[in-house]
Amino acid sequence: MALQSLDITRRSATTTRPPSQRRTPEVAKLIDVSKCIGCKACQVACMEWNDTRDAVGTNQGVLDNPPDLTENSWTVMRYAEVETGRGLEWLIRKDGCMHCTDPGCLKACPAPGAIVQYSNGIVDFQEEHCIGCGYCITGCPFNIPRLSKKDSKVYKCTLCSDRVAAGLEPACVKTCPTGAIVFGTKEDMKHHAAGRIADLRERGFAGAGLYDPPGVDGTHVMYVLHHADRPELYNGLRKDPSIGAMVGLWKGAAKPLASLALALAAVGAFFHYVIKGPNEVPKEIEKEFEDEKRS
């Protein structure tokens, strides 16, 4: 929300290039699921920093609460009890916007400037430009944006772009008591992840790895997973997320081509008229009826 226009590298529903002189290093938040204890401090910190408050809900037979992302809960912990070769595992994943390099929400958005991507990789909603159509929800491969019933704007994690702009880490990172969430340049985070993955493999997690899905050209929120080969164990984290052929078709070349076709049709019709002239009642028939009248 608070980075300057100089840093915007992509802008929704905009066909011209945004400012692109200034480059900043790409940042990333790395969530080490193997260190996460599911304490929800990140959920609280997120609400505190952004001054959002969800309703006091109910228990739905699980520990997850609030049970899903909402316009006020931009991050939630998702708890999965799975039986693996190691016995019972309680996999706890912090869910929220992944800040894709190729963001499906931005691609789908019809409102110019309602979704922007900064050169550091953060994908941010500019709610004052949002028209509330929900196309971003349709475009998102991770099912993240939530439409507010109160103001019909969509909301999601900003990766604390306001804090990051001021040289601070996101609020969830700041508060994480076990150091499961770390923040830095994407390169550093990949390096950090490599060390964690080596430790996990040593502890017998052969499938440990980094979740930085290539289908969306990588993300700026990444996970270290014990079972990177089976991300779906983590409460349905998508294995190969991508914007999807349908959204690509919908928002890709088809629309400009269709617009062009409409324009060509208009031009064609005009020249048809100019060249062929109007389709009038021929003189013979006119004469026939005039004769009839006279008679």
């Binding site: 959920q43 408050r53 006091v56 228990n59 037979g61 520990l63 609460n65 309680w90 502890r203």
Partner: protein, 815 residues
């Protein structure tokens, strides 16, 4: 822990956990209840390749990041750890040199000591107490305890232990605890791997051990394991009590229990009318030659305390006002207080920062007790359940308000962030904090409220006299603003000051501390009335150099995380207690890579303040546990524990198997106090077949945070956790409302059906657990819930009287 090591607090400190090679969380759930401190577990895993073990009835948040998890039936930890002791002794996996030199393994126990069929010698059945006179060492003609350094004597502690724990075979452990044998043995092996000098294990526990009728003995069993492994005094070792409240360590340090004075000094009982006898009893003689025994300083601490309280009025002629101190007939622990209230023998109650209606067992009994009071004063920042016990909240608190005559006075107080002060954390650090926001409305700091009460009482005594006005009229009260003592003034008072010029003991012509100056530490305290000190343990926290608790230099020269210039750590800014034991008898660190203190040829020095006489060379014969008269860690606790010198497995008072596989005649702790009427309030496994345990969730803090919106959003509604198997048996689905009841009452909650609780095979029987988080009540912004102590039995630990919240039995149905 005090009976074993000498001091009853976390031996190491939070940061030190990062130095461990093996970490075991048992009797606690550090990730859930101590998420901030838990970071040091992850640090140990990442930087020290530590192995992390969790033993718990539930697969907890801690277990979610553990390398190894083993289930255990609630209340059977002594059986588990007794099995570990048996494993270590029978397979000879102990740190021999350490055990021989630093524990009482080689000391010989009195001939009269016995253990038969679940009872130790000296049991007095009608009174449920022991005559402990046979639980002592055999004394030699030289006046010291007899020793057999060859460890051959059949009555030397090590052999008694071998015999005692030989019954705790892996099969027996599995049969009592329900822990699969292979998992138990893997944990034994991992712990045993730290019996070498350069590996350590740390135990982290909390209320999961203290809140049992055998809680203190559970902790002791872990302490014994650590002594056998040579892990006490070592960086990355120890037995680490994780306190549940940011300042509960400070509470016990300052003696806020009915039988204590500040700094773990104790009140006299009613028979101790002579000051000399009182001191003699508390100033033990060394049990081994050349032993330096810190409690020999007891008179200095006590006299300085009396001088702090009564100033010039305390003189050697009047025994420093010893007669002004109350003398106890019995211990007035919290459970006895409510028992007395119920009997109509306690009519007024001042309840400060405490919500007993939620925090003591058997709500129905508590309600009756509170309803009999004439007045109840509640000093608290929040509208607690206790202060509103008379309100009708439908099913949640179904009382007839008009029938309750108790006058309730609520005095709103500040919360910690609204005042300056210090908090003492689990690791014994006194950390100063500053006011973050002004208090709302009419809230006053607790000190101002207490001062207000005191000044009015003093005025009344002054005007009207009274039975015994002296202690009140003469109490030192020289605060700048009498009705508002400043936290800084109180802190300075605890540290202590010189009342006369103090001479340097090495050079009597030199004045070490001038009259009126703050003391540098408790080493300067005197028993001649020339020093005053409000709490000897805290001495050194506010010296002439200023507020040591406010120091914020986190430099760590040793790399062991000791940060000597960060805040102040009692005792004497020592970070790891008993650190002399981190060296071999010759004074060299057991693990050269983790050198904490060492003998440099002339003195003890190193990265920490040595827990030892600084100039006593190795070979002089002084032993490292300087708070004990024999200077060693006690595997055999002598007469310090109510139910026996060696921990024995006793079932919870409400046991899901209703039997004790080790000794059928003695099922539960024979020395635990049970009030007469309460026997009838205990259920049996026939009517209440499921083991139940209460616990906390990371989203909430006790009964406070249901008053805050954010925490209530995170965990809005009361629930109980059951296994998929029990749910199926009972036709309960996740999200259903269920009724859980014990013989004392019922609660209703949402069912969370989970794989994280598994049925256990115990004695050929299947035992199911019902997990009951306790954070809800009838006040606050979270959804209303039942106070879970509606279910819990009114019985506590035989030594500390801590209630048995962790093990009881219930029944459950879909509501």
């Amino acid at each position: 822990m005090a009976p074993t090591f000498g001091r009853g607090a976390m031996t190491n400190h939070w940061v030190d956990i990062k130095n461990a090679n093996v970490i075991i969380v048992m009797g606690g759930n550090a990730a859930e209840a101590h998420p901030c401190g838990f970071k040091w577990v992850t640090e140990a895993k990442v930087h020290n390749h530590a192995t992390f073990i969790v033993v718990d009835p539930r697969f907890t948040r801690s277990a979610s990041v553990a390398d190894l998890y083993a289930p255990i039936r609630t209340g059977t930890d002594i059986a588990f750890l007794g099995g570990v002791i048996n494993y270590l002794l029978s397979r000879d996996r102990i740190q021999h040199e350490y055990v021989k030199a630093y524990t009482n393994a080689s000391l010989i126990v009195s001939e009269g000591y016995r253990f038969d069929d679940g009872l130790f010698s000296g049991y007095d059945a009608p009174n449920r107490t022991y005559d402990r006179s046979t639980w002592v060492y055999e004394m030699g003609p030289d006046g010291f305890a007899r020793i057999d350094e060859t460890l051959q004597h059949p009555r030397c502690v090590l052999n008694l232990m071998k015999q005692h724990y030989s019954r705790y075979t892996p099969e027996m452990v599995s049969d009592i605890c329900g822990t699969p044998k292979e998992q138990f043995l893997r944990i034994c092996e991992l712990l045993a791997s730290t019996s070498v000098p350069n590996r350590t294990a740390t135990f982290m526990y909390a209320l999961g051990w203290t809140q049992h009728s055998v809680g203190a003995q559970m902790i002791r069993t872990a302490a014994m394991v650590q002594l056998l492994l040579g892990n006490v005094g070592m960086p990355g070792g120890g037995v680490n009590a994780l306190r549940g409240h940011s300042n509960i360590q400070g509470l016990t340090d300052l003696g806020l229990l009915s039988n204590l004075l500040p700094g773990y000094l104790t009140l006299a009982n009613e028979k101790e009318t002579s000051y000399r006898a009182y001191l003699d009893k508390r100033t033990p003689k060394p049990l081994r030659p050349n032993q330096f025994n810190y409690w020999s300083n007891y008179p200095k601490f006590h006299v300085s305390l009396m001088k702090s309280w009564w100033g010039d009025k305390a003189t050697s002629d009047n025994d420093w006002c010893f007669d002004w101190l109350p003398k106890l007939d019995v211990e007035y622990d919290i459970m006895r207080q409510f028992e007395l209230m119920g009997q109509g023998k306690m009519n007024g109650y001042i309840c400060q920062g405490f919500n007993p209606l939620a925090a003591i067992p058997d709500k129905a009994k508590l309600m009756k007790a509170l309803s009999k009071l004439k007045y109840l004063v509640v000093i608290d920042p929040l509208a607690t359940e206790t202060s509103c016990f008379w309100e009708n909240h439908g099913e949640l608190n179904d009382v007839k308000s008009s029938a309750i005559r108790t006058e309730v006075i609520r005095l709103p107080s500040t919360c910690f962030a609204e005042e300056n002060g210090s908090l003492t954390n689990s690791g014994r650090w006194l950390q100063w904090h500053y006011q973050g926001a002004p208090p709302p409305g009419d809230a006053w700091p607790d000190a101002d409220i207490m001062a207000g009460i005191f000044l009015r009482l003093r005025e009344l005594y002054r005007k009207e006299g009274g039975a015994f006005p002296d202690p009140i009229l003469n109490l030192t009260w020289d605060y700048r603003i009498p009705h508002a003592p400043a936290p800084e003034e109180l802190a300075r008072e605890y540290n202590g000051k010189a009342l006369a010029d103090l001479a340097d003991p090495k050079d009597p012509t030199r004045v070490m501390v001038k009259k009126g100056q703050q003391l540098d530490g408790y080493g300067q305290l005197k028993d001649d009335g020339s020093t005053a000190c409000g709490c000897w343990l805290f001495s050194g926290s506010w010296t002439e150099k200023g507020n040591m608790m406010a120091r914020r230099d986190n430099s760590d020269p040793s790399g062991l995380g000791n940060t000597p210039n960060w805040a102040f750590s009692w005792p004497a800014n020592r970070r790891i207690m008993y650190n002399r034991a981190s060296c071999d008898p010759q004074g060299r660190p057991w693990d050269p890579n983790r050198g904490l203190v060492w003998w440099n040829g002339a003195a003890w020095t190193g990265a920490d303040v040595p827990d030892f006489k600084p100039d006593s060379p190795p070979g002089e014969g002084m032993n490292p546990f300087i708070m004990q008269p024999e200077g060693v860690g006690r595997l055999f606790a002598l007469d310090k524990m109510a139910e026996g010198p060696l921990p024995e497995h006793y079932e919870p008072f409400e046991s899901p198997i209703g039997a004790n596989p080790l000794h059928p005649k003695v099922i539960s702790n024979p020395a635990a106090r049970v009030f007469k009427d309460d026997w009838e309030s205990f259920g049996t496994d026939k009517d209440y077949p499921y083991a139940a345990t209460t616990y906390r969730l990371t989203e909430h803090f006790h009964f406070w945070t249901k008053h805050t919106r954010l925490s209530s959003i995170m965990q809005p509604e009361q629930f109980v956790e059951i296994s998929e198997e029990l749910a199926k048996e009972k036709g309960i689905r996740a999200g259903d409302r269920v009724k859980v009841w014990s013989k004392r009452g019922h609660i209703m909650a949402v069912a969370v059906v989970t794989r994280r609780i598994k049925p256990l095979k115990v004695g050929g029987k299947t035992v199911h657990h019902v997990g009951i988080p306790l954070h809800w009540g009838f006040k606050g912004v979270a959804r209303g819930g039942y106070l879970t102590n509606t279910l819990t039995p009114f019985v506590g630990d035989a030594n500390s009287q801590t209630p048995e919240f962790k093990s009881f039995i219930v029944n459950i149905e879909k509501a």
